[in-house]
C-alpha cells in the first residue's frame, strides 16, 4: 500500500519533470537561435516600389493644410508613435539625424515643408542604435496603402497614405525624387537600410513615399 502510493507520486513527479524537460529544451533552443542570430531590419519588396500610376493609388489627395510644425508621428501598421525633433543639414548638405541615444525619437527637416502643407515634408529616424532597434526599425515592412499620421502644433492631425516604399544605395541616391518639390502635400519617411556590413554599415536608405489623404 505504502509502496503503491509512493509509485503513484513518483509517476506524477516523473511526468512533471518530463514536461519541464521538454519545455526547457524547446525554449532553450529557441532562445539560443534567436539570441545569437542576426536580426536585420525588414526590407521592402519590389511590389512596394513605385509603379506608373502612383497618383491614383490608395486614397485620393485632399487640399493642403496651412503650415504648422509637427509634434509626433504615428504609423499604426508598424507600432510607431514617436515625438519629432527639428533637423537641419550637415556640413556636406545631407539631412542631419536625431540624437542616436534616444531610441524612440524621429526628426523632421524644419527648414523645409511642414507635414500637411503643399510640398515635400521630410521625416527621418534611426533604424537602430548601438543598443538595438530604434524608432523606424520596421519601416521597411510598411506596405502601400498604410497610414502615417502626424500630430501638428495647431492641434490637427495630418493623415498620409503610403504610395510606395523603396530602398536606395547611398552611392546612387535619387535626391530630386526623394527631397524635390511636389505640387501636392507629400511626406517622405526615411531610415537606414539596404543591407549592412561591418565595414561600411548600412548601404543606403529605405524611403517611404506618402501623400496627404485626410486631416482631423
Amino acid at each position: 500500500m505504502k509502496r503503491r502510493r509512493f509509485h503513484r507520486a513518483g509517476r506524477s513527479g516523473n511526468a512533471a519533470i518530463a514536461a519541464v524537460t521538454v519545455f526547457a529544451l524547446c525554449a532553450g533552443t529557441w532562445l539560443l537561435r534567436d539570441g545569437t542570430g542576426a536580426h536585420p531590419p525588414p526590407q521592402p519588396s519590389a511590389a512596394e516600389a513605385h509603379t506608373g500610376d502612383d497618383r491614383s493609388a490608395g486614397g485620393s489627395p485632399v487640399p493642403a493644410l496651412p503650415p504648422s510644425p509637427p509634434l509626433r508621428v504615428r504609423i499604426p501598421a508598424i507600432d510607431v508613435d514617436a515625438p519629432l525633433t527639428g533637423l537641419g543639414l550637415t556640413a556636406t548638405g545631407s539631412l542631419d539625424v536625431p540624437p542616436a541615444d534616444v531610441a524612440n525619437l524621429a526628426g523632421w527637416y524644419e527648414a523645409g515643408t511642414t507635414p500637411g502643407e503643399r510640398g515635400t515634408a521630410i521625416v527621418a529616424g534611426h533604424v537602430d542604435n548601438a543598443e538595438g532597434p530604434a524608432v523606424f526599425y520596421s519601416l521597411g515592412a510598411l506596405r502601400k496603402g498604410s497610414t502615417v499620421e502626424v500630430d501638428r502644433r495647431d492641434g490637427g492631425v495630418a493623415v498620409f497614405t503610403v504610395d510606395a516604399v523603396e530602398v536606395y544605395d547611398a552611392e546612387d541616391f535619387p535626391d530630386t525624387r526623394v527631397y524635390g518639390a511636389a505640387d501636392r502635400p507629400e511626406l517622405r519617411v526615411i531610415t537606414c537600410g539596404g543591407g549592412w556590413s561591418r565595414t561600411t554599415g548600412y548601404r543606403g536608405n529605405v524611403v517611404v513615399y506618402a501623400h496627404l489623404t485626410g486631416s482631423r
Partner: protein
Amino acid sequence: MRRTARLLTGATGLTGLTGAALAVATAGLLAAPPAYAAESRGPSAGSLEVYPSSVAPGSQVTANTDACGDDDTAAGDASAVGAGRFTLAPSTHERDAIGQFQVPPGAQPGRYEIVATCAGSGRRVAGDLLVTLTPEAQLVHPRGSVKTGVGGALGTDPVETAAGVTALAVAAAGGTWLLHRRARGDGI
C-alpha cells in the same frame, strides 16, 4: 561664468505678426550673424541637452536630460528665450526625460540658457540654445543619403543567449534524472 543673454525675458506675448515684424526689423539691424554661430552641440552627461542647439526663431526645440533618474519628470524653463515653461516627461529610453518648446517667432538672435529642475531630486541642469536668423525665403533641399543606423540591431543578444543556455541546462538535468530513474526501474 557663462555669458547668457536674456534678451527676451518677459516677452512671451510677442508672437504672430508683431513677432514676425520684429524679426524682420532685427534681421536688418543684425545682418552679421554672431561669431559663435558655428559652435558645436552642447555637452551630454548630467546636463540638459538642447537639440537642435542652434535654431531660427519660430523653431521647435527638444530638450532632454538623463540627470533626473528613472521615471522622474522635470520642470523646464525656457523663459530666457521667451518660450515659457515646459515639462520634460520620462521617455522609453532609460533615464532620459524629454520635453519640447517653441522658440517664439519674434526671438532675437543670441545665446540663451535653458534650465530644467528634476521633480524628484530638485537637481538643476542647464544647456545653451543659440538663436540665429536664417533666410527662410528659399528652400534648401537636403542632399544624399541619411546616416540613420549603426547596425546595433544585428548583434547577438547576451540576455537571450544566457537564458537559452540556462534553459538547455535545465533540460539536460531533467533528462538525466529521468534516465537515471528509468535505469533504477522506478516505474517509468
